[in-house]
C-alpha cells in the first residue's frame, strides 16, 4: 500500500529535505476529450511521491475555471493538501510566470510530463524553463533511482525498452516518459479537500501564439510500415521500435569545449542554426 503521503513528514534533520516542484497541467481524455489529470504529468507526480525524502509542491500555470479545477483536483487526490496555481489568462506564455516562480522558490528538482495533452503540446516548456534558469534538463525519464548529495541518478527511457542511467547535478529539470510507472489512483476524499491556492503573477502574452491559426488535428492515413522480417524476433523488433535517428555519435571523455564544438557543428549540419 502506498505510504500515507497526506502530510509529508520532515525527516530527521540528518536527511536533508529535497524540494521538488511537480508541474501539472490539465489533460484531455483521448476518447471523450474530457478534462482529467494529464497522464505524463501524473506519472511525474508519482515519481516525486516515490522519492522518500522529497517534499513536493504541485504547480499549475494556466487558466482556472470549473473544468480545469476538476481536472487539477485529480492530482490533489493522489494525496496532496494543496496545489499552487499561477493563474494565467488564455493565450499566455506560461513559461515566463513559471520561470519567475521557480527562480523565487529555488527548488532542487522540477518534474514535468514530456508534453501536454492539449494546447500547443510542443513539449517545449521544460526546455524554455531550463534555458531561463540555466539548469540541466534530462528528458524522458522512466525512473529516479536515487538523490544524494545534490546529484540525482535517473533512468532515461530509450526506444525498445532500453534504459540509460544518468547522473545529473541538482537543481535540474526532468521530463517524464510514458515508460515511467503509472500514477496511483486519485482518491475522491483528498481531491475534494485539497486546496488550489492562487498566486497572483504577471501574465505574459504569447505573441507568437496569437499569430497562429489553430484547427483540430485531422486524422491522417498512416503510412504502412512494410516489414521484411525473416524471423519473429525481427518482426517484434520492428513493431516495438520507436522512431530512431540514423546517424549520431557518442562522445565521451571530451572537454566541454570539444563537446560544444561537436554539437554546434551538428546543429549547423542539420540546418537548425544558420
Amino acid at each position: 500500500m502506498p505510504p500515507d503521503i497526506q502530510a509529508p513528514k520532515r525527516r530527521a534533520s540528518t536527511t536533508p529535505v529535497l524540494d521538488v516542484v511537480a508541474l501539472v497541467s490539465v489533460g484531455r481524455h483521448p476518447v471523450t476529450g474530457r478534462g482529467r489529470r494529464a497522464d505524463l504529468d501524473a506519472r511525474g507526480v508519482e515519481l516525486a511521491l516515490s522519492l522518500p525524502e522529497a517534499q513536493t509542491r504541485l504547480v499549475h500555470a494556466g487558466r482556472y475555471d470549473a473544468d480545469s479545477e476538476q481536472a487539477l483536483r485529480g492530482y490533489l487526490g493522489m494525496g496532496f493538501k494543496d496545489l499552487t496555481l499561477l493563474e494565467q489568462p488564455a493565450g499566455s506564455d506560461v513559461s515566463v510566470a513559471l520561470g519567475e516562480a521557480l527562480e523565487d522558490w529555488g527548488p532542487q528538482l522540477v518534474i514535468a510530463g514530456e508534453r501536454a495533452e492539449q494546447g500547443e503540446g510542443s513539449g517545449m516548456l521544460a526546455y524554455l524553463l531550463a534555458e531561463r534558469l540555466g539548469w540541466p534538463l534530462v528528458q524522458g525519464l522512466a525512473a529516479i533511482e536515487e538523490v544524494s548529495q545534490g546529484v540525482a541518478t535517473v533512468l532515461q527511457a530509450l526506444p525498445r525498452g532500453q534504459r540509460r542511467r544518468l547522473k545529473v547535478r541538482l537543481p535540474a529539470i526532468v521530463t517524464v516518459d510514458s515508460a515511467a510507472p503509472a500514477a496511483r489512483q486519485s482518491a475522491f476524499g483528498p481531491a475534494r479537500r485539497g486546496e488550489c491556492q492562487s498566486l497572483t503573477v504577471d501574465a505574459c502574452k504569447d505573441e507568437a501564439l496569437s499569430s497562429w491559426t489553430m484547427q483540430p488535428a485531422r486524422k491522417r492515413p498512416k503510412r504502412l510500415k512494410i516489414v521484411k522480417a525473416a524471423s519473429a524476433r525481427d518482426r517484434f523488433k520492428a513493431a516495438a521500435a520507436k522512431a530512431e535517428g540514423g546517424g549520431g555519435q557518442v562522445l565521451s571523455d571530451v572537454t566541454p569545449d570539444e563537446g560544444a564544438e561537436a554539437i554546434y557543428k551538428l546543429l549547423k549540419d542539420e540546418g537548425v542554426l544558420r
Binding site: M1, P2, P3, H29, V31, T32, F188
Partner: protein, 659 residues
C-alpha cells in the same frame, strides 16, 4: 437455606446482567448516530423474531426445533424463576409452569449437546462448546430447586451438602445465562440479537402484517454534499451504532461461511470471521480468541484493532486485510442465510468506500475501471459514441426521436461486449415479435453505476446515477426492461434515494408476461438437458426466481435444478467488482459453479445476466453451453397463432402457476 440463598443469587445475577448490559450498550454507542424509533422497534421484536428470523432458522428443522425448545424454555423459566424464587410466588400454577419450562429447556439443551458432539466445521468452538453444559446446568438446577416449591419434595429434602451442590450448579447456570448474556459470553447473541431486531438498520427487510415484500437490498447512499461526513468506514466506530449492535448479535453459526463462494474458493474471506473481527475491533483487542474457521490462508491471532483504530492499515496489519474485503462478490448469500439478520454486504461496501474514496486503493484493475467510468461513462473505456454500433442494422427506435414509448429498453454496458450483443439482438427480436412499443436511449445511456458503487466509489456512482436520472426524466415510458440484473437492481432499488423512481423489469419477467398475454408462441424444445443459474442480483436481490423458470417451462424445458439454486444459488463470481479486483484463491468461483452445473448432467445452462454469461463461459473445458434466456426464446419463436388470446384466461390452471 435455599429459601434465603435463591433470592440473593437471582437478584445478584440480575444486577450483574444490568451492569453488563449497560457496558455493552456503551460499546455500541461508540458508533455513529442512526435514528431509530425506540418504541416501535421494541414492539416489533416478537413479530420479527417469530416470523422473519424463524423463517431463516426453520430452513434447518432440527435446529429450529432445538432453538424453540431451548430459547422458549429459557425465557419462560427465567421470568418465572424471578417470580417464583426471587419474589416467592410459588403458589398455584406458577411453580408447575416453571417446572415444565425448565424441563423443555433441558430437552432442548440435550439436542444442542448432541449437535456439539461432532460439530460441522462452520460452527465456532471455544466457549461455544461449554454452552450445552451451561444450558443443562441452568435448566436442571432450576428444575431441582422448583421441586420443593411446588411440594413434590419436602422443603428440607436432602442435606445442606445437596443444597450447596445445587446452588453451585445454579450459580454456573445463572452465570452463563444472565451474566454471560451481557458480558460477552455465548448467550450475548440473545441480548444483542433481540435489540438488533428492534433497531435494525433496514426495517424494510422485515415482513409486515399487511404482507409487505420484506426485502431491502439497495445500498444506502453516502451524503456527499456534507463535506464533513466521513466517506465510508475507517474505524469500527465509523459504523452506525446499530450496525455495531448487529455485529454483536452474531451467534457464530457459520451458515454464512458455508454459503460464501469466496470462502469456498479459498479466497481470504470468511463472513463469519469478518463479523467477529468487527466485534473484536469494537471492544478492542486481538482476534486470538476466535475459535472458528479463519480466513483461508490467514492464521488467527495476527490481527488486532480498536474502536478508533483503523480497520485496514495502509501498511502492515490492522484488524482486517484489504484483500479480505475485496474478495466479496456482494452475492448476499451470507445475508440471506444469516439467522441474526446481519448485513455483511453493507459493512463490506462501507469499508471499501473508505479504501477507494480516501486511500485511493482499489486493487488490480479497479482504478482503471473507475477512471474509465469517469472519463467515458463505461467500464471498458470505449467511445460513448460507439454504444450503438452493435445495432447498426436494427434501426432501433431512439428515445431522443420518439420522446415516449411503453417500454424503455435499457441495454447496459453489455452493448460493448460481443457476447452480450448476441443476447441483446435476441431480446430485440423477441420484443419485435411481440409487437412491444419500445425505444432505447442509445448513446445517451451511461453505465448504471453498479460496479463503481460496489467498488466503493460512491462519488462516481452518484455522478453516473444523477446524469442517468436527468436523461430518463426527459422521456415518458411506463417501465424499463433490461437484460442486466445489475442495472435492474440499481435502477429499481438504488436510484430512488437519488430521486429516480422507476418500474423496472428483468427481461425474463417481461417475456413471461408477454407469453402469458399470448403474444409469443414457441416451437417445442428439441435440445438436451437444461439447468438454470439464478443470478444473485435477480434472485436474492430482487426476489425473482419464478419468471425465468416459467419462461423455460413455456419453452418446453424441464429445468434440472442444481443443488444450490433459487435463494441458495451460488454466485458466478462476477458480482461486486470481484472479477475486476480478482483476489487470488485456490480455485475460481465460476469453475465451482460450472461444477454444480455438471452435477445435474445438463448440457446447457440458461442464464439471465451478462456477467454470469461472461463468467460461466470463461470456464475452460466446461461440459455445458451457456445461453441467455433471451437467446433461447428468440430461437424458439414461431408465429403466434392468430387465435391465441390471453393465456392466463385460456388455460386457467397454468395461470396460477405462472403468476
Amino acid at each position: 437455606m435455599l429459601d434465603t440463598l435463591l433470592p440473593i443469587l437471582i437478584a445478584g445475577a440480575l444486577a450483574l446482567a444490568v451492569v453488563g448490559a449497560w457496558r455493552r450498550v456503551r460499546l455500541w454507542r461508540q458508533g455513529r448516530p442512526a435514528p431509530v424509533s425506540l418504541l416501535k422497534g421494541l414492539a416489533a421484536i416478537p413479530r420479527r423474531y417469530l416470523v422473519d428470523l424463524h423463517h431463516v432458522v426453520a430452513r434447518d428443522k432440527m435446529i429450529s426445533n432445538t432453538h424453540v425448545a431451548t430459547a422458549g424454555g429459557f425465557v419462560a423459566a427465567a421470568v418465572l424463576m424471578v417470580l417464583v424464587h426471587g419474589l416467592g410466588l410459588a403458589e398455584g400454577i406458577l411453580g408447575w409452569v416453571l417446572l415444565a419450562a425448565s424441563a423443555t429447556m433441558f430437552a432442548g439443551s440435550c439436542f444442542v449437546a448432541r449437535r456439539r458432539r461432532n460439530p460441522p466445521a462452520r460452527l465456532s468452538k471455544g466457549p461455544w462448546m461449554r454452552l450445552p453444559k451451561s444450558l443443562m446446568a441452568f435448566s436442571l438446577s432450576t428444575f431441582a430447586i422448583t421441586l420443593p416449591a411446588v411440594g413434590l419434595l419436602p422443603e428440607d429434602f436432602g442435606s445442606w451438602i445437596l443444597a450447596l451442590v445445587l446452588s453451585a450448579v445454579l450459580v454456573w447456570g445463572l452465570g452463563e445465562m444472565f451474566f454471560g448474556m451481557t458480558w460477552g459470553g455465548p448467550m450475548k447473541h440473545a441480548f444483542a440479537g433481540a435489540l438488533h431486531l428492534a433497531f435494525h438498520r433496514r426495517p424494510d427487510r422485515f415482513s409486515t402484517k399487511e404482507g409487505g415484500e420484506g426485502r431491502s437490498t439497495g445500498l444506502k447512499a453516502l451524503n456527499l454534499d456534507d463535506h464533513e461526513a466521513p466517506l465510508g468506514v475507517e474505524t469500527p466506530s465509523d459504523f452506525t451504532w446499530n450496525q455495531l449492535l448487529g455485529f454483536d448479535a452474531c451467534v457464530q453459526c457459520g451458515r454464512c461461511e458455508a454459503v460464501c463462494p469466496a470462502f469456498a474458493a479459498g479466497q481470504p474471506l470468511n463472513p463469519k470471521k469478518l463479523i467477529q473481527d468487527m466485534v473484536v475491533g469494537m471492544a478492542g483487542g486481538s482476534d486470538a480468541e476466535y475459535a472458528g474457521s479463519p480466513y483461508p490462508g490467514k492464521p488467527v491471532g495476527e490481527h488486532e484493532g480498536s474502536a478508533d483504530g483503523p480497520i485496514v492499515a495502509r501498511q502492515g496489519k490492522a484488524l482486517v486485510d484489504a484483500d479480505t474485503l475485496w474478495s466479496c462478490t456482494t452475492c448476499r448469500a451470507c445475508v440471506e442465510e444469516c439467522p441474526m439478520m446481519i448485513e455483511h454486504v453493507d459493512a463490506i461496501v462501507d469499508m471499501r468506500r473508505f479504501m477507494t474514496l480516501e486511500h485511493g486503493n482499489t486493487p488490480n484493475k479497479g482504478a482503471e475501471v473507475l477512471d474509465n467510468l469517469i472519463a467515458t461513462d463505461n467500464p471498458g473505456g470505449f467511445d460513448p459514441g460507439a454504444r450503438m454500433h452493435w445495432a447498426a442494422d436494427l434501426a432501433l427506435p431512439l428515445m431522443a426521436d420518439r420522446g415516449e414509448a411503453e417500454v424503455l429498453l435499457w441495454l447496459g454496458d453489455g452493448a460493448y461486449d460481443m457476447r452480450n450483443q448476441r443476447t441483446l439482438r435476441s431480446l430485440v427480436k423477441v420484443l419485435r415479435a411481440a409487437d412491444v412499443d419500445f425505444a432505447v436511449l442509445g448513446d445517451e445511456e451511461r453505465d448504471s453505476g453498479d460496479v463503481a458503487r460496489r467498488l466503493g466509489d460512491e462519488a462516481t456512482f452518484q455522478s453516473l446515477a444523477k446524469r442517468n436520472i436527468a436523461t430518463l426524466s426527459k422521456y415518458r415510458f411506463k417501465r424499463i426492461v433490461t437484460c442486466d440484473p445489475h442495472s435492474f437492481h440499481v435502477l429499481g432499488n438504488e436510484y430512488g434515494e437519488l430521486g429516480g423512481e422507476y418500474e423496472v423489469r428483468h427481461h425474463s419477467t417481461f417475456i413471461a408476461e408477454l407469453y402469458d398475454a399470448g403474444k409469443l408462441a414457441f416451437a417445442p424444445w428439441k435440445g438436451g438437458r437444461v439447468t438454470y443459474h439464478d443470478p444473485c442480483y435477480l434472485g436474492r436481490y430482487n426476489g425473482e426466481f419464478e419468471a425465468p423458470r416459467n419462461v423455460l417451462k413455456a419453452l418446453g424445458i424441464e429445468v434440472a435444478e442444481m443443488e444450490r439454486s433459487g435463494f441458495r444459488s451460488r454466485c458466478c463470481g462476477g458480482g461486486g467488482g470481484a472479477a475486476i479486483t480478482d483476489v487470488p484463491g485456490k480455485q475460481r468461483i465460476p469453475d465451482m459453479r460450472m461444477g454444480d452445473v455438471g452435477e445435474t448432467g445438463a448440457d446447457m445452462v440458461a442464464v439471465g445476466c451478462p456477467q454470469c454469461t461472461a463468467m460461466l463461459e470463461g470456464v475452460v473445458d466446461s461440459t455445458a453451453e451457456v445461453r441467455d434466456i433471451a437467446e433461447l426464446v428468440a430461437n424458439a419463436l414461431v408465429e403466434a397463432p392468430a387465435s391465441a388470446g390471453d393465456r392466463s384466461q385460456a388455460q386457467g390452471p397454468q395461470a396460477v402457476e405462472v403468476s
